[in-house]
């Protein structure tokens, strides 16, 4: 089961906790905002996470100081 990390860009202030917790999937753009390391198909802003990352992702969602993250689980393709 994989999941999509949904970012509310209107809340995100680029504090960077998620980038630390999901270092394999996210990096920082020049202004500190989370950038997906892999562009996923047509939507470069989408972050698809593998199952191993789900625990870290849950933590990122919980710890984001702006509550800017949500995890949307998708069924196994």
């Amino acid at each position: 089961m994989s999941a999509e990390l949904e970012i509310d860009w209107t809340r995100c202030q680029g504090r960077g906790l998620c980038i630390e917790l999901l270092a394999t999937d996210l990096t920082s753009d020049p202004w500190g905002y989370p950038l997906a390391r892999r562009a996923d198909g047509h939507k470069s802003g989408t972050v698809i996470l593998a199952e191993e990352q789900l625990e870290a992702a849950d933590e990122a969602v919980k710890m984001c100081p702006l509550s800017a993250l949500k995890l949307r689980t998708t069924a196994r393709q």
Partner: protein, 189 residues
């Protein structure tokens, strides 16, 4: 028994003040979005939360032991309504005020996702008010407040918090503030 309670009350009070100072300092560093001296942003956030929860625990202990100590003459009402106490009512009242603020901050923090960011932030900012009130409470009611080491600890705490707050107000406080400012100035009007 009273002696034990009194001693525990003083100790837990001082520990919670130290934890409160630690919480405030971690909160300010975390807000900057910067990693520091080996502490990742995540770690700072965790420490901020851990200190705050421990602080609440020690404040609870502080309040309970005071209630149990008959010499302290504290009533249950004094936990929720300030300035009614028999022993140094004003300074004890300050303790009540900071306790109430702490409960509000703790609850809104735990229920953040349900209450929304605005409510959470609004109440959270009162921490800047709560801290000096708690320090004043300690100085005013604390049996050990007169000792040299207590005074030294207080001065160091105030210095650290003051330095952190001043830093908080500088232009380059936030991580990436320089690149962001440069970016915004990019468009000529």
């Amino acid at each position: 028994m009273d002696e034990l309670m009194w001693s525990a009350a003083r100790t837990s009070g001082m520990i919670s003040l130290l934890l409160l100072t630690g919480t405030l300092l971690m909160g300010i560093t975390a807000r900057s979005g910067r990693a520091f001296g080996g502490l990742s942003r995540y770690t700072q956030s965790l420490l901020h939360r851990s200190f705050s929860l421990l602080c609440v625990l020690f404040v609870m202990l502080h309040v309970l032991t005071l209630l149990a100590d008959s010499y302290a003459k504290m009533q249950i009402i004094d936990i929720f309504v300030p300035f009614l106490g028999d022993y140094r009512p004003f300074w004890q009242g300050l303790g009540t005020v900071s306790f109430l603020l702490m409960i509000a901050i703790a609850l809104t923090g735990l229920l953040r996702r349900h209450l929304g960011q605005r409510v959470f932030r609004g109440i959270h900012l009162t921490a800047y008010l709560m801290w000096p009130i708690a320090v004043a409470h300690g100085l005013g009611t604390g049996t050990d407040a007169g000792t040299l080491w207590y005074r030294i600890a207080t001065v160091i705490s105030i210095a650290l918090v003051l330095a952190a707050v001043i830093w908080r107000l500088t232009a380059n406080y936030l991580d990436h503030s320089t690149t962001r400012r440069l970016a915004r100035e990019g468009v000529k009007l």
